[in-house]
Amino acid sequence: MAYSFPEEVLEHVFSFLNTDRDRNAVSLVCKSWYEIERWCRRRVFIGNCYSVTPEVVIRRFPEVKVLEMKGKPHFADFNLVPDGWGAYFYPWVAAMSVAYPLLEEIKLKRMVVTDECLELISKSFKNFKVLVLSSCEGFSTDGLASIAASCRKGEGINFVKCDFMVFCYLIRLSLVSLFQFVHGLLPLFTFFDLRSKLCKVQFRNLRELDLRESEVEDLSGHWLSHFPRSCTSLVSLNMSCLHSEVNYSTLERLVARSPNLRTLRLNRAVPLEKLPNLLRHAPQLVEFGTGVYSAEIRSDVFCNLREAFSACRNIKGLSGFWDVVPAYLPALYSTCSGITSLNLSYATVQSSDLLKLVSHCRNLQRLWVLDYIEDSGLEALAASCKDLQELRVFPSDPFGGEPNVSLTEQGLVSVSEGCPKLQSVLYFCRQMSNAALVAIARNRPTMIRFRLCIIEPQAPDYLTHEPLDTGFGAIVENCKDLRRLSLSGLLTDRVFEYIGAHAKKLEMLSIAFAGDSDLGLHHILSGCDSLRKLEIRDCPFGDKALLANASKLETMRSLWMSSCLVSFGACKLLGQKMPKLNVEVIDERGPPDSRPETCPVEKLYIYRTVAGRRFDMPGFVWTMDDGSERGFT
C-alpha cells in the first residue's frame, strides 16, 4: 500500500526544485506528481519560441510568473538570418495577457518585440516587475514610455486582513441601507470603497528594465520622464543601447528616488561631467555603465569624478567607456579592488593605459576588451589577475586586411598559463598555431567555453602551414568539460573526428569554412552525445550525413546550416521522415521547387517542435513536411 503525501506537502517539497531538469524529472514520476508539479511551476524557459505554442504552455502550466524565451538562431547576430524571418513575441504576450494576469517577469532574447507588445505588457500585468530584452528589435522608445508609465504604485485589496473591520461596517451599513433602500446600489459601492480605504496594499512595481544590446527605434529620450514620481522600486536600469540624449535632471531624480538601484547602465549620450551627480545619488550601485568617457581634460572635473567613484564602495562591475580619454581612467582606481567584471570592449585606448587600469583590479573575474590590449597587456593581465575566469578579446579592425595591433596567439597562451581559473574564452586574432592550441589545452583542462575566431577564413597554422586539426583536437581531448566550442582556421574532416570522439559534454558547436566532406558532419552528429545546438556555415556538408543522422536531430534544440551542400530533395525527405522536426528552408532566390531537387538550398534551419509547422513565415521561408506541396505557390 503506497502512502502519498498530501498535495500541499509535495508542493512545498517541489518549491525547492529550481532547475527545469529537476522539475521535469519529478513530473515524470506519476500522474499525480505531474499534476501537482505543473500547478506550482512558476518559471518557464523556452529555448526556441517555435518549439511549442503559447496555448500548450498555458494549458500545462497555468500559474507561471516568470517567462524566459529565445527566438532567432544565434547566427542572426551576424546578419545571416534575413529580416522578417520570425520570432514574434506578440502571440505570446496576447495569450499571456489573458492567462497569466499575475505574470511578473519577461526575459527575451533575439525576438521581435513591438510597441504593441510593450503596451500590452504595461496594461495586462498588474504585478509586473522585470523586463529583460536581450538582442531584441522591433520596438521604439514610445513602447518604453508605456512600460515606464506603468510603473505605478498598484493598489489592491487584502481581503484576509479586511474581514473583521468590514464585518463591523456591514452591520452599520445594513442599518443605514434600510433608510437608503431607494438607492439600493449606493451602499454596495460605499461598502467596496470603504474596504479599499481600509485595506490598501501597495504592489511594488517595475524593478528591472534591461535593454541589453537591443535595436531600438530611438525617437527621443523623453520616455524616461514617463516613470512616475511614485516609482521608487527600480533595482536595475540598462539603457546602454539607446542613442538619444535623455533629460539629465529627470535621470538624476529617478536615480535619487531609487534606493534599491543596483545596476545602472547609461547610454553613450550621457557626458562624463554628469556622472558625479548621478553617482552621488546612488552610492549603493553594484554595476555601473558609464556613458561617453571623454571630456576636455580639466582637473576639477577629474576630482569631482574621482570623489564620486570613491563614495561608491560596492561597485563590482563597470562597463560603457565609449571614446575613452585615458587621463580620466585613474578616477576609477578607488573601485578597482572590488571590481570583478570589466567591460572595456568599446574603449579605444592603448595597451599601456588599459594595463594600468587592469593591473589595479586584482579580483577581476571577467574582462571584455579590445585587441588594443595586445600580447603585452595580456601577459600583464595573466600576472596580476589570478582570479580571471572569462576573457573576451574583440577585434578593433575586423575588416582590415593587415593587423593593426600586436595581438597574436601568444596573448591567449600567456593568459591560459597565468590564470588558473580561466574557463571561458572568446578570442579574435589573426594567427594561430597548433602548438599554441596544444599549450592552451594542456594549461587549462578546466576550460568550459572556447571560442576562437581567426579572422582570415581557413587560415592554417602560421608556423607549419598545416591545418589546425591537432590543436583543436587537443582542446577537446584535454578539456573534458567543454560545453561550447567555436572553430576557425584551416580544418579538415580530421578535427571533426576528434570532436566526435572526445567532446562528450559539448552542447554547442559553431563551424565555419571547415571540413572536406560529409564525413565531418557525420562524426559530429554521431559522436557528440550532449549536442544541443549546431550551427554551420560555408562547409562542404551535404545530404548523406544529415539523412543518416536524422534521429539525432530530435535530441537537439536546433541545427543551422547555411551555404553548405544540402539539397532541396534531402530537405523534403527529412521533413517527411521526421514529423517532430520543422525543416525550414530559407532561400532568397525564390521557391526551391523552381530549381532542380539536387540544387543546394541557401540556408537550412531544423528544430524540434511539438507545435507543428508555423504559419507566420515570410515569403522566403518554406517548411518541409508531409504536405510539402502546401508550402509552395
Binding site: S294, P398, F399
Partner: protein, 190 residues
C-alpha cells in the same frame, strides 16, 4: 586633413597666373575625402572607401579590396554600430556648408574626416586663408578678426568649440566664419 599640396615655392608664380575656380588665395588642395588615397581599405563594405579613423603613418600600399563575406568575422552588428557610431552614415560622410563673410562662394567639408577641433580649425584656416585666434571658454576666440561659428539643429548660431567634438559633429548643420564686429557678439573679446 590630407591633401595633395602642390603649393611650394617653385610653383607660386605659375599659380598666380593660373585660371582656376576657387577662393582667392587658396592653395590647390584636394578634396579631403579619403577616396583619393591610393590604398582603399581592404575588406570594407562595397562602395565604401573611406575609413572612420585615419590611421597614422599608413604606408600607401596598393591592396586589392577584399570582397566582404556576410557575417564574417562574426562580430555582432550591434557591436559594429556602437563601436563606429556613425557607421550607417559613414558611406556618405557628414558634409556641411562653410561660408565665410565676404567670400563669393561657399565650400563644403566632411566633418567626419577630422578627429577634433584643432584639426578642423586648421583645415578651415588653410582653406580660407585666415587665422583663428586661441580658444578659451570665457572669451571665445582671442586674437583675431574671425570667429568660427556654426548653426545647430535648432537653428541657433553657436560658437565652435564649446561642446565635446562628438556632440558637435552630430548637431552641426553648417559652419560660418564670422568676421569683425559681428564676431564680437559671439563672445569674442569683452
Amino acid at each position: 586633413m590630407e591633401g595633395v599640396f602642390k603649393g611650394d615655392e617653385n610653383y607660386l608664380n605659375l599659380e598666380a597666373t593660373e585660371l582656376r575656380l576657387g577662393l582667392p588665395g587658396t592653395n590647390e588642395s584636394s578634396v579631403t575625402k579619403n577616396n583619393k588615397r591610393a590604398s582603399p581599405e581592404s575588406g570594407k563594405k562595397i562602395g565604401f572607401n573611406g575609413d572612420s579613423a585615419p590611421k597614422s603613418g599608413d604606408p600607401v600600399t596598393a591592396q586589392p579590396p577584399k570582397a566582404q563575406i556576410v557575417g564574417w568575422p562574426p562580430v555582432r552588428s550591434y557591436r559594429e554600430n556602437n563601436f563606429h557610431p556613425n557607421k550607417s552614415e559613414s558611406e556618405t560622410g557628414i558634409y556641411v556648408k562653410v561660408s565665410m563673410d565676404g567670400a563669393p562662394y561657399l565650400r563644403k567639408i566632411d566633418l567626419k574626416v577630422y578627429s577634433g577641433y584643432s584639426e578642423l580649425l586648421k583645415a578651415l584656416e588653410s582653406m580660407f586663408k585666415f587665422t583663428i585666434g586661441e580658444y578659451s571658454e570665457r572669451e571665445g576666440y582671442n586674437g583675431s578678426e574671425y570667429a568660427p561659428a556654426y548653426e545647430d539643429k535648432d537653428g541657433d548660431l553657436m560658437l565652435v568649440g564649446d561642446v565635446p567634438w562628438e556632440m558637435f559633429i552630430s548637431s552641426c548643420k553648417r559652419l560660418r566664419i564670422m568676421m569683425g564686429s559681428e564676431a564680437r557678439g559671439l563672445g569674442w573679446g569683452a
